[in-house]
Amino acid sequence: MRRRLTAHRTLTEKMPMEPDRRRRLTALTGGRTVTDEELMAAVARGDQAAFADLFDRFGGPVFGVVKRVVRDPSQSEEVAQEVLVEVWRTAARFDPDRGSAQTWILTMAHRRAIDRVRSEQASRDRTERIGVRDQVRAFDDVAESVELRFEHQQVREALSALTGLQREAVELAYYGGHTYREVAELLDTPLGTVKTRMRDGLIRLRDAMGVAR
C-alpha cells in the first residue's frame, strides 16, 4: 500500500521505478522496502538523495491535492513547490508516533492550498453565488491525469457508500477548499448539520478504508 509510483505520463503508461533506485533502496535496508517514515528520517538528517526518493513518492500526491483546491496550474505548481521545500525544511518535526508520513505531508499540502485560495478570496470579492455543480468537481471529474490505481478505486468506492449529503460536504470541503460555513450555504443546509455530516462522513470513510492513523 505504501509504495507509490508517481511519475506517470498518462493513465495507461505507468513508469515503473527505475531499477537503479530500487536496488539502492533495498541495499540500504537489507532487502526490505524503505518505508516513507524511514525516508523522512533520512531527509531530516539532510539526505538529499532520500528527498529525491520522497519526491518520487509524494510529488504526484502533493501536486494532485494542491491542484484540486487551487485549480490554476501555475499557482498550483508554485504552491506544490513551497510545500515540498517545506517538507525538506521541517522534516525534523515529523513524528512517526503521531501519524504516517503520507498524512503529515498531504495535510501540509492541503492546508497550504487552502491558505492560498482563502487569501485570494479575501482579496477578491467572491460574493456571487456560483451553483454547486460548478463549484464541486466530483471526485471523478479530474480524470485526465489522475493516476489510476488501487488506491483511487478504493477511495471511489468508499465515497460512493456515503449518503449524498455526507459525500457533498466532504468533497466540497476537501476538494473544493470551502469552509463549513460556505458548504452550508452552497448546500442550503444548517451549519450544525454540515458539521455533523462532515464528521460522520469522514468516520465512515475511515472505517471503510481501514485507516488507522
Binding site: A44, A92, R199
Partner: protein, 250 residues
Amino acid sequence: MAADIHTLTGAYAVNALPDDERRMFEAHLDACDACRQEVAELQATAARLGAASAMTPPAGLREAVLGQLGDVRQEAPTRTSTLPDRSRISPSRRWMTSMLAPAAAIVAIAVLGLAAIVANLNERMDQIETASTQMTDVMAAADAQVIDVETGGPETVRVVLSEARNEAVFLVDGMAAAPEGHNFVLWLIDDEGGAEPAGTLVVDERGRANRVLAGELATTAAIGVTVEPADQPVRQPTTDPVMVAELTTT
C-alpha cells in the same frame, strides 16, 4: 459552541474551519485526548482522499524543488525536555487564552547571588540525568546564574545564564503547547528593542520545554517568547510576545 465543539473534528481535519475557529479548536485539542485521537484518524482519512487524487506533477517541478534544497536551511531536531520532576502544574487553558491574547505579561527578574545558585545548581544537576551536553555545559559553568522568573501564571520559567560562555538555557514547565501550525519562538532583545531569533521552544506533552540560547547575551536586555506561524521563515516577531523576561543586573 462549547457543547458541540467535539463535532468539529471532521471540519478541522479537512481544513474547513475559518481561521478563528481553527485556533479555538486547536486550543480545545490541547486539552481533549479523544478529539486529538479522532483528528489524527480523520486527517489520515483525508490524506487518503488526497493520495487518491495524485496527478503527474509538471515537468520542471522535480528539478525546481531538488535544486532549491541546498539553499534552504533545515530545522534542527527538537530536543526532548529533561527537566527534573518538580511539583508540576498542569498546562491550563488559561495560559492558552492568555497566549492568544495580544497583551504580554511583562516580567522583571533580578540576577541572584552566586552562592545560592551553586547549591541550587548542584542539586539540579543531580536530578538531570540525560540533559544534552550543551545544556549541561551552561549549567555547570563556573559563572552560571539561575534566574527564576515570576510569570504570574501557571507556568514556571527559569533561565540559567553563563556570561562567560555567552549561553543560557531557557526552561519552562506547566506550559501549553503552541497552537498547531505555530511555534513558540525565543528572541534575544537588546536595549534598543532589536530582536534576534534564538530558536523555537517546543513544549512536550508534559508541558515542559527547554532551549539553549546562544548569542550576544552581554547586550541582551530581555528574552521574549512569541507565537509564530510554523510555515514561514522567522526573521522578525510578527505577534506581541506572550512572555518577556527582562534581565536586570543588580
